[in-house]
Symmetry: C2
Subunit: 431 residues, 2 copies
């Protein structure tokens, strides 16, 4: 790029029709002139060559991505990460906002991903380290998506569960247990107080646990538990599979009595999620496999909240995400950002239920609630319910008792004195 | 995990039926006991709880992922990357091979991704830094996939192009140019010597360049170029879109005369690629958007060759990948590994044409050929053809002249003396 080409990739917001652009917050580290690098970042993700040879034309005014915010700071220490074949030169850390014309790709997930987190973002000359931090959509773009069919309000209504978190449990042993004993464990946990029992994200339709059989058994189990307790209960069936099978597995699971479904968002692709959401007759929960592979390092890749926003847009009624706690290795701020991305206003798109998960049990409930400062979340323990020494019903009860103690403003230990399941959980998991 | 639980996640290869396992090469850095961390890595991606409470059972012998190779070295300097909320303790760098039972997930891409690069891989206690380096499949697993319908041999046959690289060009300006002048540029480049002209990976079916119109114009252009030159010529149409539209866009493009198709693999999802490949009547090329987001850092994420193998398995006849050259910031060794993943034996799965790309022009051809040491590759310049000062026909000719110089064993400069297009390319791009 010649120096005279650089201004064509910069603009002020006042010059642009906001409805024609998505905005991208990007941080990057570059070698050499940061203005040149920023212009190249825009060019590579849009008009890499903006005129024919020998023709007086310029496609940039309408089609170029443009920098609308720019900040650069020298980094005398060099790049944050050692990258083989990184360019040499003096290093700057930059923070920019790019206005990218969405007419270049349209309201389609694969096309959006290609343009805003594809070759152009990760192979701009001089920029070995780059991270897409956030994305914002104008109303005209959001209007092209249906979003969640049920959303947080629809899940609450179906469960008749208001002004409290949603209690979900991952049935364990997760892999290897045949459908009949698996359903038995699920029924116990529903009777003990869970709203929803779910398949592990790795448990799908397999020869040793066919989804049709599992869903029928757990559908019947959740109906019995609902009848016994007088409140709605759900089984969440994991329909993750090749995209061609998603609608049929949805039908099998719902026919069996599944009250909601689980799908692994990035593995099936956001486009697969959208396809399933269009077909869904029950709420859809998304799980987070693979997202950490590009979101954990603070200065490279794509921030996880970008994928939370895209999952909500794709139609997930609930988004399971890495939560608090040592095992999840996720900064508290990032968990909060992802929860906000589910709940905050997004034009006509309904809010999704955020489900921050990770090795939870009765003793972690209060910490989650205090940090989130809302009852609009789901809890999703596995071993915290199904590894409880008194069994799954007690594991479920211990969670509800933990919530009662919060609702009553009583300390967990004081409440445990009168509740054996909670006391046992503290003794077993609290060590 | 208790110390006595650790051995259940280790095995020797002799103890295991190799046909029941995929093998994963993994590097990681952990805090604390590396044997404990390795066992946790296996547990988290398979049997996270291997018995019911109070039941004497153990699902590990059949369902657990197990360490079959293990090596650990202390890292007194600590973790390679600063990770917020990383565990504390003495750090080891480890290299392991995991045998993971593929019956847990089956021959399905979303299920495979969930199990071998999902929550279990990236959220194992004590392991903040982990990278899936490679994957190997047994014959019984490969047999479940169709792989490429045409593959490298099929592409050569359709083009009648043997014992030389395949010359492909990305038509530029890539974004904004209407179909008619776009097709005109493509036709010139085909007449000048390209085998294939292609859409940019960001150019899809858009209101300002509808695929039906573009494919019909370029189908006719490639037919005319074939008639004029007496050799087959192809237009590669980019059908990337929501998965529900892939078969219809395939049909539109092929009806218009596209000789092959482009799809962005990770954005549409490997499952979407498999769906399209099952439907395809012409060779399918895959492009690499998003892969760098999880593969660039040497010690974290997923190595790009894993996705090259998966793309081949999903049925791509050709895999476009980051190639040599400063802009691509990809170590030479990684390019070679990805080329090998396309060409090396893979049971009944045909080889795919590797297309290492990145800011190529006539002057980079010899370097690519010498490094790869094979003629089985594709070249995919953009500006190197369409930014040539004498126009696209000359740009294409300059590439063919560069290849002639190699075939004749003559230096590029000597050959350029008698070939104006090559001379002009050297003057313009070689500065």
């Amino acid at each position: 790029m010649r120096p005279e080409d650089i201004p064509g990739f910069f603009a002020t917001r006042a010059e642009l029709d906001a409805e024609r652009y998505v905005e991208l917050d990007v941080t990057f580290e570059c070698a050499g002139d940061p203005l040149h690098a920023a212009a190249a970042l825009c060019s590579e993700q849009s008009t890499t060559q903006w005129s024919r040879v020998g023709t007086d034309e310029d496609f940039r005014p309408r089609y170029a991505a443009r920098i609308v915010e720019f900040d650069a700071t020298p980094r005398p220490a060099g790049f944050s990460y050692e990258i083989p074949n990184a360019p040499s030169g003096s290093v700057h850390a930059c923070r920019v906002t790019i206005a990218h014309p969405h007419g270049n790709f349209g309201a389609r997930f694969p096309n959006l991903m290609t343009s805003v987190m594809g070759e152009g973002m990760f192979f701009a000359p001089g920029i070995p380290i780059v991270r897409l931090e956030d994305i914002r959509f104008p109303a005209s773009f959001l209007a092209e998506f249906a979003g969640p069919k049920f959303g947080l309000p629809g899940i609450r209504e179906r469960l008749q569960a208001y002004e409290r978190p949603i209690f979900i449990g991952v049935i364990k042993p997760n892999i290897g247990l045949p459908p009949a004993p698996f359903a038995e464990l699920g029924e116990q946990a529903l009777l003990g107080g869970l709203d929803i029992v779910k398949d592990d994200e790795m448990l799908t339709d397999t020869p040793w646990s066919p989804l049709a059989e599992r869903a029928a058994l757990l559908g019947a189990a959740s109906a019995r538990a609902a009848a016994a307790t007088g409140v709605p209960k759900m089984y969440m069936a994991n329909v993750t599979d090749e995209v061609t099978r998603l609608p049929a597995l949805h039908d099998v699971a719902v026919a069996g009595g599944a009250g909601c479904l689980l799908v692994n968002s990035v593995p099936v692709g956001l486009s697969g999620v959208r396809l399933l959401a269009a077909h869904a007759q029950v709420p859809l929960f998304g799980h987070f496999p693979f997202i950490a592979s590009f979101s954990r390092l603070p200065r490279y890749g794509v921030h996880s909240r970008v994928f939370t926003r895209l999952q909500r847009l794709a139609g997930l009624d609930a988004v399971i995400m890495p939560g608090f706690g040592d095992r999840m290795m996720t900064p508290e701020r990032e968990v909060l950002e992802n929860v906000c991305a589910c709940l905050e206003p997004m034009g006509p798109i309904k809010p999704s239920l955020p489900v921050p998960g990770g090795s939870d049990w009765a003793g972690t409930v209060e910490g989650i609630f205090r940090r989130l400062n809302t009852v609009d979340f789901g809890l999703v323990p596995g071993r915290g319910v199904f590894g409880h020494p008194m069994g799954p019903a007690a594991g479920a009860a211990s969670l509800r008792q933990a919530w009662e103690s919060i609702a009553l403003g009583r300390s967990l230990d004081a409440h445990a004195a009168a509740h054996e399941e909670l006391r046992s959980a503290i003794e077993f998991f609290g060590r």
